[in-house]
């Protein structure tokens, strides 16, 4: 029996909404815009965070660098033997890699040399490539999407890179990284260690740095200190430091983001407040009439609740969908400049589409909930006054 009433009240709410088309439409638009902005920021930040997490996941616990004249220099590969003898070290991998500036496309490639074990570890960590195995070595390489796009390369295509002595070296594209980890692989070239040495003219018994893996993460600092002792003239950078320096930058940026977020929330509060305090004389009178006709306070609140919820839910959905499309399919054009620095650090790219229920809920929670509550406060106030006075407009 009691279900009837709710059904009728719901349908009356919808009629009411349509009745005040102009007003409700403008609320809807502002609302959608705010959810869009808020959603964009939230999606963007979390997508970047996720990409960064992938980047850091397989990173070594300690990186040992040779320092000469205060600068990073080639490290003798034989040093790895000394590191390996330190207790608690599970694995030491000499790495050869470098940056390559490509003049014509004005972009920086990261080139990493991998063989055997390190290549397998990398492959396990990064979801990439089409199903088939992509072999590397003898000029066969894997390239990132960005490089493939800017050079118009496909699988099996050939391209040249300039050697450090000015000569040309030919490569064949053996595979292209998929978009799943675009931040990491966008401008990456993976080739055999031998090829990297040839390209950058790295002498055989030297590497760029040593990647050290440690059994017990608590011992990282002790081991790093020991490395400094056995290999004077080197610097041991521990993962935490990498993460930390990354987090400081990120924390600073997310501070900015947070400010932006706060601004949006504030604007939202203002909208809600305006709505909350701004019951028009007509609306007040209507509430009085409904009360005089025997509507309970709950009935009136229910009706206004449906009104508020309908507006905020539709606007919320519209805003979230727009934000999603904006971030993941249109390169975050609107928020990226605001969170500048990412575009300096990284070339423009489309983030991997991803939606986190928690985040969507958070946006929901700071928009729909306060708005709906805010619409009910003045209604409640009006509906508790004797209808006689509400109708007379006192």
């Amino acid at each position: 029996m009691s279900k009837e009433r709710h059904k009728h009240i719901l349908s009356f709410s919808i009629t009411s909404l349509l009745r005040r088309k102009g007003k409700n439409l403008s609320i809807f638009l502002i609302y959608t815009l705010m959810v869009f902005l808020l959603g964009s920021v939230v999606f963007f930040v979390s997508a970047i965070k996720r990409e960064a997490a992938t980047t850091l996941k397989g990173a070594p616990d300690i990186v040992v660098q040779q320092i000469r004249a205060g600068r990073h220099d080639l490290i003798p590969t034989e040093y790895m033997e000394k590191v390996r003898t330190i207790r608690g070290v599970t694995k030491v991998i000499p790495r050869v890699w470098g940056y390559y500036f490509d003049g014509p496309t004005q972009s920086n490639y990261t080139i990493i040399g991998m063989d055997g074990e390190s290549y397998e570890a990398f492959r396990d960590r990064i979801p990439f490539l089409s199903p088939e195995e992509a072999p590397i070595g003898n000029g066969k390489v894997l390239i990132g999407k960005g490089i493939a796009r800017s050079r118009g390369l496909k699988r099996g295509g050939h391209f040249y890179l300039l050697r450090s002595d000015g000569g040309l070296k030919t490569f064949e594209v053996s595979g292209i990284f998929s978009g799943r980890s675009s931040l990491l692989t966008h401008d990456l070239i993976v080739m055999s260690e031998k090829d990297v040495r040839e390209l950058f003219l790295i002498p055989a018994r030297y590497s760029i740095d040593l990647a050290v893996y440690v059994r017990n993460k608590e011992e990282i600092e002790t081991i790093a200190r020991k490395i400094g002792e056995v290999l004077p003239g080197t610097r041991a950078v521990i993962k935490e430091q990498i993460t930390k320096s990354y987090e400081t930058v990120f924390g600073w940026r997310s501070g900015l983001v947070f400010t932006a977020l706060l601004g949006t929330v504030l604007a939202f509060a203002i909208l809600s407040w305006d709505k909350a305090t701004g019951l028009s004389a007509d609306e007040r009178k209507e509430i009085g009439i409904l009360k005089a006709l025997g509507w309970r306070i709950e009935d009136i609140l229910e009706m206004k609740f449906w009104e508020g919820l309908t507006i905020s839910l539709t606007a919320f959905l519209a805003g979230i969908i727009l934000a999603y499309i904006h971030i993941f399919f249109f390169g975050s054009y609107l928020v990226a400049p605001a969170i500048k620095g990412w575009s300096v650090l990284y070339p423009p790219f489309n983030l991997n589409p991803y939606m986190d229920a928690g985040e969507v809920f958070m946006v929901f929670f700071i928009t729909v909930v306060p708005y709906t509550v805010a619409t009910l406060i003045p209604v409640w106030r009006s509906s508790t006054i004797d209808p006689d006075e509400v109708i007379r407009g006192i």
């Binding site: 009745r19 009085g288 009439i289 025997g294 009935d299 109708i391």
Partner: protein, 225 residues
């Protein structure tokens, strides 16, 4: 049916604007009676009607409607009382201007938990009774004053209340329509409804169906006939 005991209603109490709209009125109206409240503007007719109709509560005194002391009731019960017993026709009709006639009449039925079919039947009934069939799809604001008033009456009747309160119902009607209105009231009286009309229109208080005319001045009763 209706009993007022030394009822006083003060607006803006304790401020310089203080108004004693109703001042110590005692009054009894029997079931099935048709009573007219008469008096000059500002004499407190509307205020008295709102007290009877439980649209407001007295500052002092007691109001008994259908055996219940409404002056002591909590808000939800007051609303319940209004919903179950009273149909109110306002001085300015107070229709919701931009919804249809049909929906306006439907409004008092929403809180009653009826099925859509029951509601429809009731509204059809009221439309027929007040001869506004054919206009149900019009928006209330597009109707003439007389039509609006009939919609207001239809809305007051649709819940089939025992008590009908009408405030200056003929103020905006010509003689012909005023007679129509009185005819409707006569019909309701025959059905056994208790009717209280506030009016200073001679057509109303001299109408032969009226059992009693109560005269008011400055919030007090000054005469009864």
């Amino acid at each position: 049916m209706i009993e007022l005991k030394d009822v006083t209603k003060v607006y803006y109490k304790g401020t310089p604007k203080e108004v004693k709209a109703v001042d110590g009125i005692s009054l009894e109206i029997a079931k099935g009676e048709m009573v007219v409240l008469k008096g000059p503007s500002g004499s407190g007719k509307t205020t008295l009607l709102t007290l009877i109709g439980c649209l407001s509560r007295p500052t002092r005194g007691r109001v008994l409607v259908a055996g219940k002391d409404t002056s002591r009731l909590q808000e939800p019960f007051l609303t319940f009382h209004r919903r179950m017993h009273v149909g109110f026709v306002f001085q300015q009709y107070h229709l919701i201007p931009d919804i249809s006639v049909y929906e306006n009449i439907l409004l008092p039925l929403y809180p009653l938990d009826m099925t859509s079919q029951e509601m429809e039947e009731r509204v059809e009934d009221a439309l027929r009774k007040l001869r506004i069939k054919g206009k149900e799809a019009y928006r209330a604001k597009d109707l003439s004053g007389g039509e609006q008033q009939r919609v207001a009456i239809a809305r007051a009747l649709v819940t089939d209340p025992e008590i009908i309160l009408a405030d200056e119902p003929t103020a905006n009607l010509d003689t012909h329509l005023s007679r129509d209105f009185l005819k409707i009231m006569d019909g309701l009286k025959e059905e056994g409804k208790t009717i209280v009309i506030a009016s200073h229109d001679p057509l109303v208080y001299e109408h032969k169906g009226v059992d009693r005319v109560i005269e008011m001045r400055d919030g007090r009763l000054v005469g009864c006939s």
